[in-house]
């Protein structure tokens, strides 16, 4: 198992696409995070007092994480699998390690750790670069010691890892990059954005919507699960998709 983990790490670092995608995660979180912080800071000034009371500087600076950087980390998970199917490498890999559960576990382990590392840096970059931008617009800003900020940052990194792992499971299920990535975008981005058009219970229980509450430091007026419960639901959902992927992977001809 250690050998297979080392092999998966070699696979990750020895092609351009995967480290680039990990780097893109951080760049999007930081760079786009600054732009979004600026936009949200300006909007704060024009907002009503009621809206201003709900302003969440931490979540604002991390918007790029759960809007776009998460897609990069999800793509990382997808291509770590789909590139093997696309090139035929999967047959070489499964000949070297015919126990497929071991292959899947090692891949999930490496992608999960890389996504957690990239996610941690991304979340920190988003926060540390976003707060001065918010301050410069005249909107409220937060510091790491403020209530719930550390939880949002630590949980945010875990959220990113969850999306990366979801990418792995979808890659196994769908095998093709485009299809798996399309599903990932729909599930983690499009459907949560449509929450306003869906019944309130849907947003409360749809795992990616519930999981995103981890970025919140000002209580959400809507009826949502508590942040850790929401993230737990997201992990449970990812685990369920993984279970299906494992069964399919183990029985399907390679």
């Amino acid at each position: 198992m250690i050998g297979v983990l080392r092999s998966e790490w070699t696979k990750f670092r020895s092609v351009r696409s995967t480290p680039l995608t990990a780097a893109l995660t951080v760049v999007l979180a930081g760079g786009l995070g600054m732009l979004i912080s600026r936009g949200l800071g300006m909007a704060y000034l024009d907002a009503t007092p009621a809206e201003q009371a709900l302003f969440d500087p931490t979540q604002s600076s991390l918007s790029a994480c759960f809007a776009l950087a998460q897609l990069a980390v999800g793509a990382l998970g997808v291509i770590s699998v789909s590139s093997e199917y696309g090139t035929g490498m999967i047959r070489t890999s499964l000949t070297a390690v015919p126990r497929r559960g071991v292959v899947l576990a090692a891949k999930a382990g490496v992608v999960g750790l890389v996504a957690l590392a990239a996610g941690s840096i991304a979340v920190l970059a988003g926060f540390l670069l976003g707060q001065p931008v918010l301050r410069s617009t005249g909107a409220p800003s937060a510091s790491i010691g403020d209530p719930h900020v550390l939880r949002a940052l630590a949980g945010g990194a875990l959220w990113m890892a969850a999306v990366g792992l979801l990418g792995v499971a979808l890659g196994i299920l769908l095998r093709a990059t485009a299809g798996a990535f399309a599903v990932l975008v729909a599930v983690t981005l499009v459907i949560p954005l449509l929450a306003d058009m869906l019944p309130p219970w849907f947003g409360k229980w749809w795992p990616p919507s519930a999981g995103r509450e981890i970025f919140q430091t000002v209580p959400n007026p809507e009826d949502m699960l508590p942040p850790w419960a929401g993230l737990g639901l997201m992990y449970a959902a990812v685990a369920a998709v993984f279970a299906v992927a494992f069964v399919v992977f183990r029985t399907r001809d390679a």
Binding site: G3, E8, S14, A96, D253, A254
Partner: protein, 308 residues
């Protein structure tokens, strides 16, 4: 060290199509077994089942008495090259071999050793996507050799190679068998098998057609007449015809005689003082013998649409 591949009633169905149909054969150590059949006969599917990539619909195949998936360190037992292009094009040859070696905890010096064996040391740091087919084939063989396995499998190894590459692979394969390894090589070309294989497992439309040593494919009595060249062909033809032979003149001036064996022809012409310059029993070529063996199944495969 001596490990057999044993297929027992191996069957793979895709819907209604039987890609592999009740196949039973053994691949023996110390010899090259040629896995021969027309394209679509089920050779690749069979090899994929040996490696546990595809699951048999029924029947079983074992390597050294165990299912491939149950081997604790499969690369130390079986080395396989099924598709030379099944490599990530963005990964260097060295890193490709490294990530494979790590899975089976093989020492990294093996990477340099196999790269030297296949002659890729110079391009080890080049991305595999820029390799020619011949170089990819060499990389695939290097990967197969990483664990120094007693069993080797190659699927159509000479396809797309230049003559030099073909010669190299043939010698390599013969060498593996000479070292006592168990070697299974598939091909749809009888002529190729004639040069590399000791034993033939012939399949068509997924079914076993023949399983025999190459020397037995053409039996000693399998003679298709005798070619005779004489100073006076007309006189010889007349003599042999009256003696019960059937004589067909060939365009090059020689005679093809059936119904009389070489000894009888020699005795007859000597008695009548008719000098011969050639007296050659005509054996079918391996190619013809193979066509004979597979004729029925080829027609069946063509009608059936074949498999994958």
């Amino acid at each position: 060290m001596s490990i057999r591949i044993e297929a027992r009633n191996l069957t793979k169905r895709y819907g209604e199509t039987r890609a592999v149909d009740d196949l039973t054969f053994t691949v023996e150590p110390g010899s090259v077994t040629g896995f021969l059949g027309p394209n679509g006969a089920g050779k690749t599917t069979t090899m994929r089942m040996i490696l546990g990539l595809d699951a048999p619909t029924s029947g079983s195949v074992t390597v050294g008495g165990r299912r491939y998936a149950d081997l604790p360190s499969p690369m130390r037992v079986v080395g396989a090259l099924l598709d030379a292009r099944a490599v990530h094009p963005g990964r260097t040859a060295y890193d490709h071999l490294l990530c494979l070696a790590q899975t089976n905890n093989l020492p990294s010096r093996r990477i340099d050793e196999v790269l030297a064996t296949v002659g890729l040391t110079e391009v080890a740091r080049r991305r595999a996507g820029r390799f020619s087919l011949g170089m990819s084939q060499r990389l695939g063989i290097a990967a197969a050799l990483l664990g120094d396995p007693p069993v080797l499998m190659f699927d159509e190894p000479v396809n797309g190679l230049d003559p030099e590459g073909i010669r190299w692979i043939r010698q390599l394969i013969r060498g593996f068998a000479a070292e006592g390894r168990t070697v299974l090589v598939s091909s749809h070309l009888m002529s190729e098998m004639a040069l590399t294989a000791d034993r033939l497992v012939v399949i068509g439309a997924g079914r076993l057609i023949a399983d025999r040593w190459l020397d037995d494919v053409i039996g000693p009595d399998d003679v298709r007449g005798v070619r005779v060249r004489a100073a006076d062909p007309d006189a010889v033809a007349a003599l042999l015809t009256t003696s019960g032979g059937l004589v067909t003149p060939e365009p090059d001036g020689s005679l093809l005689v059936t119904g009389l064996d070489g000894a009888r022809i020699g005795a007859l012409t000597a008695r009548h003082a008719l000098p011969l310059s050639e007296l050659i029993p005509q054996r079918p070529s391996l190619e013809e013998a193979f066509m004979e063996l597979t004729r029925d199944s080829v027609q069946f495969a063509a009608r059936d649409g074949g498999d994958r």
